[in-house]
């Protein structure tokens, strides 16, 4: 079969997922072309893991349709072209590292050589160690090697850096970038914008089951970096940078210090001042609405 480059790597059309009355994903539309590296960003419970479970065929959608590499993600022929690193998964602990890799290699029609997998994951020295004796970071690296076993066209990683130290995180991200540069499609979920920035061409932000932003890392970074400044003032402030609600004024700004300095310099009497990090949702309201409230 020739590489089907014309197909998108992932297409979600109106995909919803409910767990009982809980709506985990609400009518998501998402198209990921081949070769793109995408970070899915969002807080806990946003729907990241649900979206990944659906695209791996581990769960089925309540509504809508999902296509992965042009097929149904529940088909073995599609799974054979996808590599996955899951968040809550385990391995038989009695196996050695090389035995676990050999097992997963047997699942794929054209697996990568075992030595290459060990070296990509940085486990060459630990090849003969039992899974039960690996450190947390080493187990994560083994999961990474297993995800790469089939030389996947689409690599899916659900929060791969959780619980890793700085160095392990850096080296994993470097390896992921390397794989993305080989033309593979990479989809990684994360809590951290800097990680998204390091590996992704595109950042998709999910919150409460909705895609609230979709753009380049720099677009998204600009929005998330802002703080919300909120205060009351008895004197009417005629300033378009603020949203006024009675006596309360609010503004989103990348630099709350200079905004406040300016207000004090103007001798504006303010009370009940708070400066808070903008929530992801707040930060992206502007992006999704296409309405850039920009301050300071």
């Amino acid at each position: 079969m020739s590489a089907r480059m014309d197909e998108d790597a992932v297409v979600f059309r109106g995909v919803s997922k409910n767990y009982g009355t809980l709506v985990a994903l609400d009518a998501i539309d998402l198209r990921i072309p081949r070769g793109q590296s995408v970070a899915v960003l969002g807080p806990n419970g946003a729907g990241k893991t649900t979206a990944i479970s659906l695209l791996l065929g581990l769960r089925s959608a309540s509504a809508g349709s999902i296509s992965v590499l042009g097929g149904n993600p529940r088909e073995q022929a599609v799974r054979a072209r996808v590599g996955a690193m899951l968040q809550s998964s385990g391995l038989p602990e009695y196996l050695r590292v090389d035995e676990a890799i050999a097992l997963f290699r047997s699942y794929y029609p054209a697996p990568l050589p075992i030595d290459e997998l060990l070296s990509l994951a940085g486990l060459t020295e630990k090849a003969r160690m039992r899974v039960a004796r690996l450190s947390g970071g080493q187990v994560q690296r083994l999961y990474f090697a297993l995800a790469l076993c089939g030389n996947p066209e689409l690599l899916v990683l659900d929060e791969p850096t959780v619980g890793r130290d700085v160095e392990a995180r850096r080296s994993l991200l470097a390896t992921i970038s390397e794989i993305a540069k080989r033309g593979r499609t990479v989809l990684m979920s994360t809590h951290y914008l800097d990680e998204a920035d390091a590996i992704a061409d595109r950042v998709v932000v999910i919150d409460r089951g909705h895609i609230i932003a979709d753009g380049t890392p720099s677009e998204v970074k600009g929005a998330v970096g802002r703080k919300r400044v909120s205060f009351t003032s008895r004197v009417a402030l005629d300033d378009e940078r603020f949203v006024r609600n009675g006596e309360r004024y609010e503004a989103l700004t990348e630099s709350p210090e200079s905004l406040l300095r300016e207000l004090f310099a103007r001798n504006v009497e303010i009370e009940e001042l708070t400066v808070t990090g903008a929530t992801l949702e707040e930060a992206f309201v502007a992006l999704t609405a296409g309405e850039h409230r920009h301050v300071a």
Partner: protein
């Protein structure tokens, strides 16, 4: 032209290999299923090995009993404990995301368990021969192995059912609670005629009793006709398979729907 999915035979071979490794590297499993039967046989079987019993000898009769116990407990534990463990630690999820074919997964467990059961019986037969001079003719040995391996299917199904119904820690306890009383009440540890009348009266309704009958018949000891034992085991196999399949689909609906 590259293949769309991996060839089945190497996948099955790899899956069988790790299942075998699992059994070998779990010392408690090997002790409970290989060492215990040999030890029990040393205590009970060797002393009066040549004494006639049930148209055979005590040595042969107990050889069949402990072979049946070994194969039964291997079937129950290798399926039940491994399925529960893999569900418990999330290995099932990882394997499902990979293009592992379910048939290879189940067949790998089955082949490894059968091989382990066969080895346990052969070791016991060898021990009886060397330590007790109890000679089991080759045709009888082949018959014993064939009957035990085929007759273990209900226990395989019961193991699966427990594996899908019980949590990781509960599974091993539940399997012990099934295996030991079943083996005892069916006369696999102590011959039935030495058990309390109450136990003797319920024994003919237990799958392990009919499993034992197949084994005793294979060494020439008096037993019920093999056809009747096979029919009982078939019925239990259908029942336990039904429970296992229901438990499997319950899990599917919960975790993978």
């Amino acid at each position: 032209m590259s293949l769309e999915i991996a060839p089945f035979a190497p996948m099955l071979r790899a899956q069988t290999k790790i299942e075998f490794i699992r059994l070998l590297r779990n010392p408690w499993f090997s002790i409970a299923t290989v060492v215990f039967p040999i030890m029990f046989y040393a205590f009970f079987g060797l002393a009066q090995a040549r004494m006639p019993y049930m148209n055979a000898t005590v040595g042969l009769y107990l050889l069949a009993s402990f072979s049946a116990y070994a194969v039964m407990s291997i079937s129950l534990f290798s399926f039940g404990a491994s399925v529960a463990a893999e569900r418990g630690n999330g290995a099932t999820r990882l394997m499902r995301a990979a293009p592992l074919r379910p048939l290879a997964y189940f067949a790998g467990k089955f082949i490894a368990s059968m091989a382990f059961g066969g080895i346990a019986v052969l070791l016991l037969v060898l021990f009886a021969r060397v330590a007790g001079g109890v000679a089991l003719p080759a045709p009888a040995l082949v018959l014993l192995l064939a009957r035990l391996l085929l007759g273990s299917l209900p226990f395989v199904a019961l193991g699966f059912a427990v594996g899908y119904l019980a949590g990781l820690n509960a599974a091993v306890a539940i399997l012990n609670l099934i295996t030991l009383p079943l083996a005892f009440a069916s006369g696999l540890f102590v011959p039935l005629d030495q058990l309390p009348p109450f136990v003797q009266s319920i024994a003919p309704y237990l799958p392990s009793y009919h499993f034992g009958q197949l084994a005793w018949g294979a060494v020439g000891a008096t037993s019920e006709p093999w056809q009747r034992a096979a029919l009982w085991l078939l019925g239990y196999c259908a029942l336990f398979t039904w429970v296992a399949v229901r438990a499997y689909y319950r899990e599917e609906r919960k975790e993978f729907a």
